[in-house]
Symmetry: C2
Subunit: 358 residues, 2 copies
């Protein structure tokens, strides 16, 4: 029987009776719902959905697995309404309702690269700042590596790291575990210490009134202005950071991957390290979006993007790699397994971080 490693992160609901995780990592989901007529389960550990069965007490249940030690999203659909598991306190939220899900954390027999471990820990700072370019109060999340306060002479490089559509500036810390991944890499001396700035990735936030006809391009352009005119100056005024292009990296996932590749490759005067995770890219407009690649090989320290083979965006990343090859721009296209999930993005961060600022 496999021993289960218990991540003793007592400040968060890391362990809960629901769903029930057996020692062999089979997972039983339950819903006490005598009045409902149909309950199904969907989740990142399933293709499609499975129906739950009801016992005489009105408790619905289903067992799946064994599952790999990972963090998964899942939902119940209760009489046709897709919602969370009301017995699990661990809920995924974002900037739109489409991202709402329950979170299942299946521990392994040893600590995973994103588990809290007895190593020095960095801190997460949340700032409210006034964006002059957007005329709005916005939030910004910042990871500061361990040792920052004890080394008042040190200056650090900065990774600007973006979330995906429907998420917000808390996603990389809440679901991406950026701080624990970097704490663990630093303790193992596998990465250089750097600050991570995680802004809210929408110029035109979901749910707010927007100008007639405004679309994805306007959203990206407004976000780019906020980043360059407000976020970077804010970080460079508030933190002891390096300000040269060789000390700035830019990365993001999905919508944020489109942003990081688009902004990064159009602003090589600002960034030498550019990355995209499962990036939302538009092959039809590569030539116009990436029109400024002259001299890129001289300026870029790294151009890295990855996508999972089960991701519907895989083809776009592959075509981007072909486009860059035709333009003779050096890059790494990391073709991995996996789908459009945080499982993949945590792994990509763990791959990328050791390469940065070397």
């Amino acid at each position: 029987m496999t021993r289960i490693f218990v991540p003793l992160l007592l400040g968060v609901a890391a362990i809960w009776a629901q769903p029930e995780i057996a020692p062999d990592r089979r997972v039983t989901f339950r819903l006490d719902a005598p009045k409902t007529t149909e309950v199904s389960l969907s989740g990142e550990f399933l293709k499609g959905s499975v129906s739950l069965g009801k016992n005489d007490s009105g408790v619905w249940s289903v067992t799946v697995g064994p599952l790999e030690p990972e963090i998964y999203n899942y939902n119940f659909t209760i009489d046709g309404v897709k919602t969370i598991d009301p017995a699990n306190p661990n809920v995924k939220t974002g900037s739109t309702p489409s991202t709402i899900a329950s979170i299942l954390d299946v521990p392994g027999s040893t600590p995973r690269f994103f588990d809290g471990q007895p190593v020095p820990h960095g801190e997460i700072d949340t700032h409210w700042y006034h964006s002059n370019s957007l005329h709005a109060l916005r939030r910004l999340t910042v990871y500061v590596p361990p040792g920052y306060a004890r080394q008042p002479q040190a200056r650090y490089p900065v990774l600007y790291l973006f979330h995906g559509a429907n998420a917000d500036e808390t996603a990389w810390t809440r679901f991406g575990r950026v701080n624990l991944i970097l704490d663990n890499l630093l303790a193992a001396r596998k990465a250089k210490p750097f600050v991570v700035a995680m802004p809210f990735g929408y110029g035109l936030p979901p749910g707010f009134p927007r100008p007639a006809g405004a679309g994805a391009a306007d959203n990206a352009a407004l976000f780019s202005r906020d980043l360059i005119e407000d976020v970077i100056p804010f970080i460079e005024s508030q933190y002891r950071v390096e300000t040269g292009r060789d000390q700035r990296a830019i990365a993001g996932l999905s919508m944020g991957g489109g942003e990081s590749l688009g902004i990064g490759l159009n602003h090589l005067e600002l960034f030498s390290w550019v990355a995209g995770f499962s990036a939302a890219l538009r092959p039809d407009s590569f030539a116009s979006t990436f029109a400024n690649l002259e001299g890129a090989n001289q300026k870029l320290k790294l151009l890295w993007f990855g996508c999972g083979s089960d991701d519907s965006l895989f083809a776009a990343s592959k075509r981007f790699s072909e486009f860059l090859t035709r333009r003779q721009v050096k890059h790494v296209f990391y073709e991995s397994s996996g789908a459009h999930t945080w499982i993949v993005w945590r792994r990509y961060l763990n791959e990328l971080a050791p390469m940065l600022f070397r």
Copy 2:
């Protein structure tokens, strides 16, 4: 028609199409659920619950109000299952499932005391620290007032502020708006600047294995050890703070109010300012819990506790006031309107903060 003040806090889902808030502050809740047979709404703006009606397209709806400009929790019950509103991205979570709810923010015609406004903003720091007393990795949230970084010679007093049962160390910033309330008070010169430390308030976290027979007293005793042996030393090593008892305050709500009054009044060598909000108090054990009140009037700068008249804990606070009066301990019992909700606790913080460290 009332003009609606739009809080432009674009980093969070402050505004969303669901529920629909009319200019007169009537609020319409909707659920697209053709297959369900019964949907009801409960919330802090209602006594009991109301049923939703279904139209021919299978959309359930109900309109309530007009509601006062406030932030309210609510839930849908869908065929007997209490859950969130799946069309609203704004979800309240905590350390147990009982706290899961959707959040409705009804704006007013002018900014409220807890709204983000164009004033200098403090920051929120999240720390992962190893608790030697609990042998666990825990999280701690810290509010740092605006100006802290620009005044490297200044030292600040500290308020230790606790959440209630079923919540966690993020509750005071996510639902209590502690940072925005203090930013606004500071901008209006109504409060002195101070640091706020918000630990995870459980010694025995919900959902974790616990020793046989362990109860509320053990939970409080373990939390007290973590606070005194780990949290306070951590804060005093990481921040430029004053370390005298006149520069330390302790406050909390509900379970955390029981903790703040219990710890504070038993540790007057550490705290001169002690407060409780809708505190969970046990009148039967006042004499033993608060056995060390000798000299309290000389040591205490302020003993303040409030409770709302619609709160089931009101009687306990009233009896605590009578107990203190019999012991001739000076105190302020603030009898307010309201129930056991964040509406009350935000107001109490706004009342208490201007009195501290004067």
